[in-house]
Amino acid sequence: MTSTPGSAGPTDATTPPPSERPSRGAQWSPTPRPAPVRRFSPAERLVHRTTAILMLTCLATAGCLYLPSLAELVGRRHLVVTVHIWTGLLLPVPYLLGLASRAFRADLALLGRLTPVDRAWLRAVRRRRPARPSGKFNAGQKLFAGWIAGATLVMLGTGLLMWLTHLTPLTWRTGATFVHDWLSLAMGTVIAGHLWMAATHPEARRAMRTGFSRPR
């Protein structure tokens, strides 16, 4: 793997324990604190944030259309449908605009390829070994990125079939509804997992929030 700016450490590293407080009379350590490493450019963070807002709105409106208790609470079916359709249609736009950013393209290239290091990471996960080697992104993050991109495209395609009812015969529309319903459940589960990983990895969250992470 070629060296790229910001590939110093894995994104999912847990927060290191706070360094020991110097006891009274202890000497100040002469080791200089390493400079923070830039992990994500402002453009990348903007892409992530807008995609997150669109995806969560899409999921929330889906819940209001689909779950009876939420549907009874919210009503306004036509408005909710309109919001759901348009957030869904806009979902790929931040990604497409992000392709103008060199840093975004570089990270996509990293995310798209599974290296021998990633295979070692997957083996370590399967065998529950704590030492899990990775580059800037670990294999789990790479698999998530590829799966969610493909799933989003399938949702977009089946959603278009359901929306533009005059385009295709009815059996296509019924099939599209079937796939759209089931895949939405799978995506909701996977995105809940993504949020759980973010909640339990403050260092990764800080990198996405500020653009920098502290090397260990």
């Binding site: 599974l114 099939g175 079937f178």
Partner: protein, 235 residues
């Protein structure tokens, strides 16, 4: 050094392939799943099966932000427009009229179907004959106390004996979520014609399209012969 396997691309293409296969195989998957779910739902005390896709039963659709609740005391159904004897009925008065009970499938235009659902109520034709429809009348407009929804029927459709002002559904009083205390029930048409929370019946000289019809749905919504669908007719 090798750049590694292009797993991202494989995942995206694989998902697209699975999605297309899912669309194509859906009719077979759905029927197998339906029979499995039908068996599972009968033994499911948690009700979780009710949340899975295509699990049958009714889905709640409302176009209003909130719907006021009407009791037997404050509910009124008015009949007006091109009639000789406009009227306003209480629920008790409607219950005292001759009732018809129909058991048919309910078919929603979005695809779900609930088999063998009983509706019971006053035939619309009975209310129209009580009011005395004038010769210039051509259609009926229905309005609802959610303040938003409306529906329409031609006079000929309204005269069918499978069109009711339903007071009971599944042999219980029509609940609030199902459009109670009284809703329209148009058995041969997609369920959006069966307006919930019915409060007004106005006889008009032409068809005035209802809420979804203004948004592109068919005005004559025969099950299996409209909205580009080919469902089995419910009558």
């Amino acid at each position: 050094m090798s750049r590694g396997a292009p797993v991202g691309r494989r995942l995206v293409l694989g998902m697209l392939g699975l999605g297309a296969a899912g669309v194509a195989a859906a009719p077979y998957l759905q029927s197998g799943y339906d029979s499995f779910l039908g068996a599972a739902a009968g033994k499911d005390p948690t009700g979780i099966t009710g949340l899975l896709p295509g699990s049958g039963g009714f889905r709640y659709y409302s176009v209003a932000s909130s719907v006021p609740r009407k009791t037997p005391q404050n509910y009124r159904l008015t009949v007006d427009g091109l009639v000789d004897r406009p009227a306003s009925y209480t629920l008790a008065q409607l219950r005292a009229m001759p009732q018809t009970r129909l058991v048919r499938d309910v078919q929603c235009v979005t695809g779900w179907r609930v088999p063998d659902t009983a509706f019971e109520g006053v035939p619309l034709s009975h209310l129209l004959s009580l009011a005395g429809v004038r010769p210039t009348a051509r259609a009926i407009r229905f309005t609802c106390f959610d303040g938003v929804y409306s529906e329409s029927l031609t006079l000929q459709q309204a005269g069918r004996d499978d069109v009711l002002v339903a007071l009971r559904m599944q042999d219980k009083d029509v609940s609030h979520t199902h459009g109670g205390p009284a809703r329209l029930y148009v058995a041969p048409m997609y369920f959006y014609k069966s307006a919930k929370w019915l409060t007004g019946i106005t006889v008009t000289d032409r068809v005035r399209p209802g809420y979804w019809e203004e948004l592109g749905y068919d005005i004559d919504a025969w099950v299996g012969r409209s909205n580009g669908r080919d469902d089995t007719p419910t009558v």
